[in-house]
Symmetry: C2
Amino acid sequence: MAECSIGVGLMGIGTIGGGVARVLTQKASKLADESGCSLVLKKVLEKDISKYGSQGIDANLFTSSFEDIIGDPSINIVVELIGGEYPAFDFIKKSIIAGKCVVTANKEVLAKHGFELLKLARENGVDLRYEASVGGGIPLIAPFLYDLVANNILAVKGILNGTTNYILTRMAQEGLDFNIALKQAQKLGYAEANPASDVDGIDAAYKLAILATIGFGTEVVFNDVYHEGISKLKSCDFIYAREFGYSIKLLAIAKLVDGKIEARVHPVFISQDALLAKVDGVFNAVNIEGDLVGKLILYGRGAGADPTSSAVVADLVNIAQNLANGVKHLPKMLLNNSYQIKPMVDIETRYYIRLNAADQHGVLAQISKVLGDNLISIASVMQKETDVSNKTAEIVIMTHPAREGALQKALKQMEDLKVVKSIGNYIRVED
Amino acid sequence: MAECSIGVGLMGIGTIGGGVARVLTQKASKLADESGCSLVLKKVLEKDISKYGSQGIDANLFTSSFEDIIGDPSINIVVELIGGEYPAFDFIKKSIIAGKCVVTANKEVLAKHGFELLKLARENGVDLRYEASVGGGIPLIAPFLYDLVANNILAVKGILNGTTNYILTRMAQEGLDFNIALKQAQKLGYAEANPASDVDGIDAAYKLAILATIGFGTEVVFNDVYHEGISKLKSCDFIYAREFGYSIKLLAIAKLVDGKIEARVHPVFISQDALLAKVDGVFNAVNIEGDLVGKLILYGRGAGADPTSSAVVADLVNIAQNLANGVKHLPKMLLNNSYQIKPMVDIETRYYIRLNAADQHGVLAQISKVLGDNLISIASVMQKETDVSNKTAEIVIMTHPAREGALQKALKQMEDLKVVKSIGNYIRVED
C-alpha cells in the first residue's frame, strides 16, 4: 500500500538495536500501514560487528563509519542506540545538523544535553524523539507533552530503574543481603557487570531529569538531581520498615514545594498501601500528580529489547507519518517556567534512623537531646536487638518532618556521642 | 505571545462542560503557550441555562440554538459534552460537515457510531478527538493510536467504571449489601439517580467497544460487547472470593483468543495479587498487553470535572496547535484487521458457582453429574453455611476452564434438580 519510503539509519546493534531491527523487519507491513510509508533500514553503524553478530540483518548494511550514516541522503531518520554520553551526543548533533530526524533512547545524553539538542533540532527543522529514554515501553514522554498539557504538574514520583527494584524486591521478600541479591540480578541479566549506574541511582537520576524538565517546563539536568543508591540497605531495614507499615523502594522524586523543584533519587520508606509499594521485580511505575488529572500511575516494563523497541519504533512511525504527509513536526521544548532547584539541605521530610548504641541508661536522653537541639522531633523510638556481649543495642527512630540540613548535622553530632557506636542507616519517608 | 486565535464552541455546560469552560478561562495563557494560539470560547450551547447557572461564563455567549454554533465562522473547534446518543450524534455529524474539528467525551456516540464519524471527519478534512470518552483523565486513546503502534495488542482489561468500582470496594471492605452501597454512592454523587448505565455494565461496555476498536484495528460496536452488571452480587460472594484468594471487580475484557475477539463486561474473580485487584474506590485502571511492550497498566481518575477536562482540553490544545501551524491532521482510523467477535457462548473460563441445595446425602453427586455431563470439571467444592431449619446448605463450586455455553446449560439443568433450591450466583474467573 505504502508507495513512499522512509530510510532509517541505525546506530548501535546491541540488545535494543537488535530488537528494533527485528521489529522493523518482522512488522514491516504493519508499520507501513500505520505510518503510510515503508520504513526501510538503510545502514547500521556498529564498530564491532563480531560482538553481537549480524542479528539477521543483511551484512551489506553494516558500516563502522558514522560518516556513512550522515552522508547517506536516503536516510531520513537516524536511530541512536549506542548509549553513553560520547560519541552518542556528537553523532546525534551531527545527524541533526545534517537535516536528519533523530530517535534516541539515550537518557544520559538527554539528561545532560537535552535542551541543546532540542533547540538544535528546532533550528534545523527536524524532529527529535526520545520516548524510550524513560520507562522503556511505558508511554511517559508523550503523555507529558500532549495528554497532560492542560495540567500544572505538581509531582512526579517513580520507580524508574528495574535493576534496583528487582534487587529491593528480593531483599524484601527473601531477606537477602544486598550483595547476594545483586549477584542474582547479574546472573539473570538484570544487572550489569559494573552495576554502579543502576545501584547508585545514576540511571534513575538521568530519567528524572528528563521527566522533571518536561513536567515542570524548567530545564533540570542530571547535576540538578540528588542521587543516592541502595547499597547501604541492610536486611534489618526491611524488617523495621515492615513493622512501621512501610516498604523500601528506590524512588525518583520531583516535586514543586514552595515554588521550587525538589529533584532527588534515594531509597524511601513508602506506605505498604501505596500502589508504588506494590510494584515488584523489574517493573517500573511512575506516579504523576497534576492539578486537573489528580493522581495518574503508569506501570510497565522499563527495560528490555522488546519494550524499548516498542517505544523506539513508535517514535519512528510517528516521524515517518509526518514526513509522509509533508508535515514539519518540530520537537516540543516549552520552558515556560523558571523554577529554582531546591538545594538538598532544604528539603523537609520524615526520617527513619537506625543506630547502634551502648546498651545503658541515659543513651536515649543523649540522642534525643541532639535531635531536639537540631529542631528534629521524634515520632517514635524502638529499641531493637540487643547484643549482650558487646553491650550494644540497635535503636530505631522515626522522626516528624525535619530539614535535611538539620538531620545531617544531627547525624554528625550523634556519631560524636560516646554512647553511639555507629549510624547504621537513615532513610527518608515519602508520603 | 500567541497572535492567532482559535474559536471554540462548547455544547453542554453540565459538570464537565463547566469544568472545561473554567480551564479555558483560568489557564488561557498557559494553553496559548502550549498550542501557540489563543483558545477563545465563542459560544456555549445550552437549552436550559437555569439548570446549571452560567458557571462564570459571559452570559452573552449562551445560545439555545445549535444553528448558532455551526453557523459561526469564528468557531474552529466544537466541543460536544452533551452526552447521550441524540442529539449529540447529529450535532457532531453536522459540525464535521460544516468543516469544524470536533472534541467529544461521548462514549455512547463513539461506541455506536464511531467508525461513521471518523470516516466523515476524514472525508471533510477535519480532526475528531475523543480522549475523554474512556478513562477520564487517563491517557488511553493516544497511547493506542501513537505510543503502542508497533505492538500487536493481545488484550485490554480494565476497570472502566468508577461508580461500580466504588460500590464494589464498599461491599468488599465493609460487607455492605449492594443496595446500601449504591445509595451511599448516590449520596456522594458517584452514582446517578438512575444508575442503570453504570451498574448494569453499559457504560463500561461503551468504553470497551472504543478501546477494542483501536486496539485490535477491527470495528467493535456496543452491540458486540456482552455486558452484565453487579446488582446480583451478595456480600457472601465477597467472603467466598476472599477465601479462594480473589477480589471481585467489574472488569471490561477484550482479548484475542484463537484469532477472535472476546469483548465482555461482567463481574470477575481476580487474584488478590493482581494490581487491578488493588484498584479501589472511584479509580479506573486499564491493563494493556502488547506483544512488545508486555503488560502495561494505566491508572487514574476515570471521571469528574477536572480529570475529564484535562483530557478534553488536551485534545483542544493539540488540534489548535495543528490549526495554528497549518497542519491538516486527520483522525486515525486504521481498521487493518478483520477479526470476528467470538459469541459469548464460545468463551472459555473458570467459574465460581454458588447455589442453595438440600442438606442431604447425594446432592453433590447429582450436581457433579450435571457438570460432568456438560464436560465441566470441578476444581473444588465447599459446603458453606447450613440452614438447619430449612434443611438447606450453601454450596460453592470452583470449576476448571469450561465453555460458557456448557456452563449455561449446566446451570439450567441444575436448577431443574429437585435438590437444588436456587442458583445463587455464578462469576467468571479472570486469570
